[in-house]
């Protein structure tokens, strides 16, 4: 426990270590720490900014979704209306076509009937004249009685 040169030695060691620390130890650690502090602060800033952006985007997305839902409903309704209309139209057209076809057929049938009637009438007239000729043995003047027979034929 004697006080001796060790005292001076320790003082010199102290000075040397302080010098070393100031020159080689303090600056790099201090720089690294402060740089990291800045980095973290920047990061936090960026994060909060991103959060705000995210909120805005969410809101926008919600709005767009709502809008498009409305649009879709509208479109759907229109389509329904349109399809109903088309069905209605098609039904009308079909009915008209059917009616037209029925009318055509009926008029054709009538024509056929008329033609057949004409033919029958002509044949009846000829048969009647022939029968009368045979009965009267050509005593009938063809020209004279022709008118009479035709009249008869139309009355049939």
């Amino acid at each position: 426990m004697n006080i001796n040169l060790t005292l001076i030695g320790q003082m010199i060691a102290f000075a040397i270590f302080v010098w070393f620390c100031t020159k080689y130890v303090w600056p790099p650690i201090s720089n690294a720490l402060h740089e990291r502090q800045k980095k973290i602060a920047d990061g936090l800033d960026a994060a909060s900014r991103a959060n705000r952006d995210l909120e805005l985007a969410q809101e926008r997305a919600d709005e767009t979704l709502r809008e498009s839902k409305g649009q879709a409903a509208e479109i759907l309704e229109q389509a329904h209306k349109r399809s109903n209309q088309m069905i209605e139209e098609a039904r009308d057209t079909a009915r008209q076509e059917g009616e037209r076809m029925i009318a055509n057929a009926q008029s054709e049938i009538e024509q056929e009937i008329n033609r057949a009637k004409e033919e029958l009438r002509a044949q009846v007239a000829r048969l009647a004249i022939e029968g009368a000729e045979r009965i009267l043995e050509s005593s009938i003047d063809e020209k004279k009685h022709r008118e009479l027979v035709d009249k008869l034929a139309t009355e049939l």
């Binding site: 426990m1 004697n2 006080i3 001796n4 040169l5 060790t6 005292l7 001076i8 030695g9 320790q10 003082m11 060691a13 102290f14 000075a15 040397i16 270590f17 302080v18 070393f20 620390c21 100031t22 080689y24 130890v25 303090w26 600056p27 790099p28 650690i29 201090s30 720089n31 690294a32 720490l33 740089e35 990291r36 980095k39």
Partner: protein, 274 residues
């Protein structure tokens, strides 16, 4: 307990003796072989163990912190870097709280003192017979491994701080300002200048003395207790040894911290202008 069953008193004295190299009046430059040899060497001697271990611890501090500092990433730090940064920020925060003048040297001084003293104190947790035993096997008689139990080491650092206080007092206030501060505080009257001078010079001198002796006293007392505990039979000594060592983890850190904070406070005082 090296060798031929020494008495308790011998054992204690042996453990409290530094390995001294110096100029002996009879043997010339040599290593002291006994406590009386060491005393006879007077001032021109050096404690090889104190110097060696304190330099080793200081170098360990510089090496470790330099290594981490060189590789320090600004990204996610590793475990070692994290630990070093914790110490660094602790010291930086302490300095920021206690020191308000502009001096970029104070924080590195505080860091050096804190880590260096902490490492030197930590040597005390090494079992007290382990390293002296190893060195005794190697033929070295004395080995007191804790530098802070040597008043030379603690007073050396305290005197270093003392010179820094004087240096910055003069640098900041000028010689006139410093002399004026010594003469006119605490009583601002020319009649009381001698009284003030005596008071201020005593308070100035007490600063390094209290700084060095506090650290020395705490560490030395702890060491003596460890030695006394070691005198107990081996099967019982751990019951006292272990709690004392655990308690000393606190003392070690606390004393390093007190030395550092007081240094910072004294240096702040040196920068204060009244």
């Amino acid at each position: 307990m090296a060798g031929n069953n020494p008495t308790s008193a011998e054992y204690i004295q042996h453990h409290l003796q530094n390995l001294t190299f110096g100029y002996h009046p009879e043997n010339g430059w040599s290593i002291a072989h006994s406590a009386t040899d060491a005393v006879e060497m007077g001032f021109w001697a050096i404690h090889l163990d104190t110097m060696g271990w304190s330099l080793a611890m200081g170098t360990l501090f510089i090496w470790l912190f330099r290594k981490v500092g060189k590789k320090a990433t600004t990204g996610v730090p590793g475990k070692l870097q994290n630990a070093i940064e914790m110490v660094f920020e602790f010291v930086e925060g302490t300095v920021r709280d206690a020191f308000h003048a502009k001096n970029y040297l104070v924080a590195p001084i505080a860091l050096t003192l804190f880590v260096w003293i902490f490492l030197m104190n930590t040597l005390k947790l090494v079992p007290i017979d382990l390293l002296p035993g190893v060195f005794a096997e190697l033929g070295v008689d004395y080995m007191k491994i804790v530098p802070t139990t040597d008043p030379n080491a603690t007073m050396g650092m305290a005197l270093g701080v003392f010179f820094l206080i004087i240096f910055y007092s003069i640098k900041v206030k000028g010689i006139g300002g410093f002399a004026k501060e010594l003469s006119f505080t605490p009583f601002n009257h020319w009649l009381l200048i001698p009284f003030n001078l005596v008071m201020e010079i005593i308070s100035l001198l007490v600063k390094p003395l209290s700084l060095g002796l506090r650290l020395f006293g705490n560490m030395f007392a702890g060491e003596v207790i460890f030695i006394l505990i070691a005198l107990l039979p081996f099967w019982i000594s751990w019951t006292l040894n272990v709690p004392w060592a655990i308690f000393h983890i606190l003392i070690i850190t606390l004393q390093a911290f007190i030395f550092t904070v007081l240094t910072v406070v004294y240096l702040q005082g040196a920068h204060d202008k009244h």
